[in-house]
């Protein structure tokens, strides 16, 4: 069944799961969050470099991880 804005039950479940994941991420211990930030930096660095921006992801060893 579709609602007026096009949101299906399946999509609603996907969005609810995403929200749950975000809440779970917020509850992670801080060192694990730092690891996640480094992963995000590595993912973003490729795109940013292609745009000509010079960025360097942190190293896990440098942050004590």
């Amino acid at each position: 069944m579709e609602s007026l804005d096009g949101m299906t039950d399946e999509l609603a479940r996907v969005f609810a799961a995403k929200e749950q994941r975000r809440k779970a991420l917020a509850r992670l211990p801080f060192p694990e969050k730092v690891r996640a930030v480094i992963k995000l930096q590595e993912m973003a660095a490729t795109i940013l470099r292609a745009r000509g921006k010079s960025v360097k992801p942190w190293s896990a060893s440098g942050t004590g991880l």
Binding site: F30, V37, A44, W58, S59, G62, T63
Partner: protein
């Protein structure tokens, strides 16, 4: 980075460290002693940051009463056996409201959603630093 302590991880490439510095006899505040001490340890300056173990760190003198209060009331936490001080989520919100940039607005949204705030502490903080109007504008 401090907001990540309370909310989901988000992309950032630098680390801001607020510091309390004594004014010189001239009344000026200088970051030079920090930069010099880090240089002797082999850390180099890169634009406005010092690169410490591959992490660009920007030292910011506490620039007003809100930041001074935030530092005084920061929480001491353990990071893999190393003690560190992190500003309270309520102070991070107040500083974001003062700064007023687009990314600050996004941080306020995240912290409000996930930061497990103390509503009475936040209300008092916003009242004392005259940030209630901005809070209303950003959250209603």
């Amino acid at each position: 980075m401090a907001a990540t302590f309370y909310a989901e991880p988000f992309l950032t490439f630098d680390l801001d460290v607020f510091v309390l510095l004594q004014a010189r006899t001239t009344g000026l505040i200088s970051l030079t002693p920090i930069y010099e001490a880090l240089r002797t340890r082999g850390y180099r300056e890169e634009q406005e940051c010092v690169v410490i173990e591959d992490v660009p760190v920007q030292f910011l003198p506490a620039y007003n009463s809100l930041v001074e209060e935030a530092l005084a009331e920061a929480r001491e936490v353990d990071y893999e056996g190393v003690p560190m001080r992190v500003l309270r989520a309520e102070h991070l919100i107040a500083i974001c409201l003062q700064s007023g940039r687009g990314k600050d607005r996004e941080r306020v949204r995240l912290l409000r959603e996930q930061g497990q705030l103390d509503p009475e502490y936040l209300a008092d903080l916003l009242r004392r630093h005259k940030l209630e109007e901005k809070w209303k504008a950003w959250t209603e």
